[in-house]
Symmetry: C2
Subunit: 197 residues, 2 copies
């Protein structure tokens, strides 16, 4: 087993907000000191609310995927449902709300599946992925004016192939999907198990 790590935090000598544009972008600039005494004049951290995403399995064992255009990379790509946690909202509620709004799917059994950082170095927020088992289409998709989301209810094998071939570019979505498929994969061969017994 790998050792539990001892934290080696930097000391913040000075901190100020250097850019804030509505709810979209907030940048903190800091003057920090490392444990060895060395001072870093400027460290920039992007401040965001926490995010959520959902791996949603339908009652017939397929996965609810979406596609949308993403301007950062200038491409339309497959994704899982994701969004921002509103103020006062729990991660679970945000994930259920986003799935319902973006796809119309809901219900089922929900559990927290994975916690990730978009970038441990310069993002202060986390992304919570939920696994929803047994969802069904319960209402029409309800998109915001600036959303253009297409829904794909896809066979697991097709999603696995998509992810393995690089079709899900967004790291925050690729990681939970890969964990999901790894949990489904046999960890050892049953016949080798039998041979041992």
């Amino acid at each position: 087993m790998l050792d539990k790590l001892v934290n080696r935090p930097w000391k913040v000598l000075e901190s100020k907000n250097i850019l804030k544009i509505g709810p979209w972008l907030s940048v903190r600039g800091e003057h920090v000191q490392m444990p060895n005494g060395r001072v870093i004049d400027s460290w920039f951290t992007l401040e965001f609310p926490n995010w959520v995403s959902v791996i949603a399995e339908t009652t017939d064992g397929r996965l609810v995927m979406i596609d949308q255009y993403r301007h950062g990379i200038g491409q339309t790509r497959y994704e899982i449902v994701a969004g921002v946690i509103d103020e006062g909202e729990t991660p679970l509620h945000a994930a259920q709300r986003e799935l319902l709004e973006e796809t119309g799917f809901g219900g089922g059994e929900w559990s927290e599946f994975m916690v990730l950082s978009p970038n441990t170095s310069n993002h202060n927020n986390l992304s919570y992925t939920f696994l929803a088992k047994g969802v069904t289409l319960i209402q029409p998709q309800h998109q915001e004016a600036t959303e253009d989301i297409h829904v794909h209810v896809a066979d697991k094998e097709d999603v696995r192939e998509l992810v393995m071939q690089g079709g899900v570019l967004q790291a925050l979505h690729a990681a939970p999907l890969l964990k999901y498929f790894l949990m489904e994969a046999p960890s050892d061969s049953p016949c080798r198990g039998e041979a041992k017994g």
Copy 2:
């Protein structure tokens, strides 16, 4: 198989740099139009150089992991080796340079393993992960003054357990490690295969 997606790009009506702090932070603000005609007044994109990371397997089949303090989340965490591609550098060269600098390991056979986006929505860059097989310790670690990196040469099973239990928080590192372990997992049981044959 999932359909190949048709791109639905936004049209950029106006674009300007709204923040640039040395090589660390560059923010582009744009006025864009969706294919349906709707205009989005402000879209912000973070501009970064491309990044690299490395899954490095030693000649005895262990994995070269590191830990370092990450100020975004305020925690010291396990990671794989990663860094920024310097101007004029190929992704492969950057990955080999980073592995050597951060750990002293080098050599072996290298192949491109995965391409990810830190955030398709608001980052313009990509992260290239390489798989290096058969690396060996060839020189002392050579850290930059602001780096405080500890090296761990760990058994694969321990790294797999670490990732599955959420010990690698950085999405850009968790995803390639999970893909690596999924590729190592048997995709079907050999004995079921024999029963079919």
